[in-house]
Amino acid sequence: MSSLDWLIERLTQLVSEATGALENDPADVAAWQQELSRQLARYHAASYLAGSGEATLAGPARAAVLSDLREQLKFLGKFAFEIQGAKEWQRGWNARAAMYAKSIRVPYERGRTKMLPLPAMPCEGTTCLTNCGCSWEIDELSGDGNADAYWRRGKGDGCRVCKQRERDWSPVRIRDGVLQLG
């Protein structure tokens, strides 16, 4: 099991526990939102560090991860508002909450591919969103800043954008640190 899969599994468990508790006692949505926000922050940082292999999160990397996190917290805020306004618990909310765990794929991939000017990250601009199971396969070449990168579609990923990226970006070429158009 990869480190990302382990992190996603662990975060999914934490999110499911918190959401299960909320389902039993729907009064305290604010506490649930706070708990999820806390866990998302921890795991966003952890997944970046796991992807990059670095020991600390600082500078532009920290700012980028915060930006990813802010995006998820925006969605979480809307979700919490929806739960608060509902008369009863809706079927599908548990699964919807669990999707937040997969959002840590973005900082992970960002960490893993940080030295390369890749056109898009998994989940970025795709229709599958956080369900995107795609990844970049990097083939480093001799010379500084030279690599071929292949968009690998996740197993069972039928997203039309990911299918096209797999066709067009196999590979994208980076030469002397510049993403080539051809």
């Binding site: 500078g59 532009p60 700012a63 980028a64 390369l116 601009g125 640190g177």
Partner: protein, 159 residues
């Protein structure tokens, strides 16, 4: 595609005045955006029988153009007005229906569609016109929103 991107980039405190580095950041950000946009244009024609070609060119160092010369694509993108269709060589029109289009306005994608299997004969047809798909507008809006991420990634690569 017309694009005027405004982005708030997070720049490292120690910013060396290295023109080559700055140039590389901008070129990379433009190239990232162009390649992502080109993919989306192709997504809009994924199920088509003929495949329009979308070429990326650089009219100037910091401009990227993604374009096609396919007349069908242009027609659908802008839409058509209601018009009458009459036979040119024969005396009567023959076509099949009911027609279900592969695309719809503002949708970055294409579906199966259907030609229909009922034969229809008519001396002329009042075509209601085609609603503009406005793919250029939809794709532009999508990638303008995501451009700051790409620019930040280009900056991160350099520092």
């Amino acid at each position: 595609m017309e694009c005027c991107n405004l982005a708030k980039a997070i720049i490292p405190k120690k910013l060396p005045s290295n023109a080559q580095r700055m140039s590389r950041i901008l070129v990379n950000a433009m190239n990232m955006s162009a390649k992502a946009v080109a993919v989306d244009f192709k997504v809009t024609t994924q199920t088509w029988d003929h495949q329009p070609n979308f070429a990326i060119t650089s009219p100037s160092p910091f401009v990227r153009q993604i374009a096609t010369d396919d007349p069908v694509y242009a027609m659908l993108n802008k839409g058509t007005r209601p018009h009458v269709i009459r036979p040119r060589q024969k005396k009567i029109l023959r076509f099949e229906g009911p027609f279900r289009p592969k695309s719809r306005p503002g949708y970055i994608g294409s579906d199966k569609g259907s030609q229909g299997n009922t034969e229809i004969w008519a001396r002329s047809v009042n075509h209601p016109g085609t609603a503009p798909r406005l793919w250029t507008k939809a794709i532009k809006a999508k990638w303008q929103k995501l451009f700051p991420e790409q620019l930040q990634r280009a900056i991160d690569v350099e520092y």
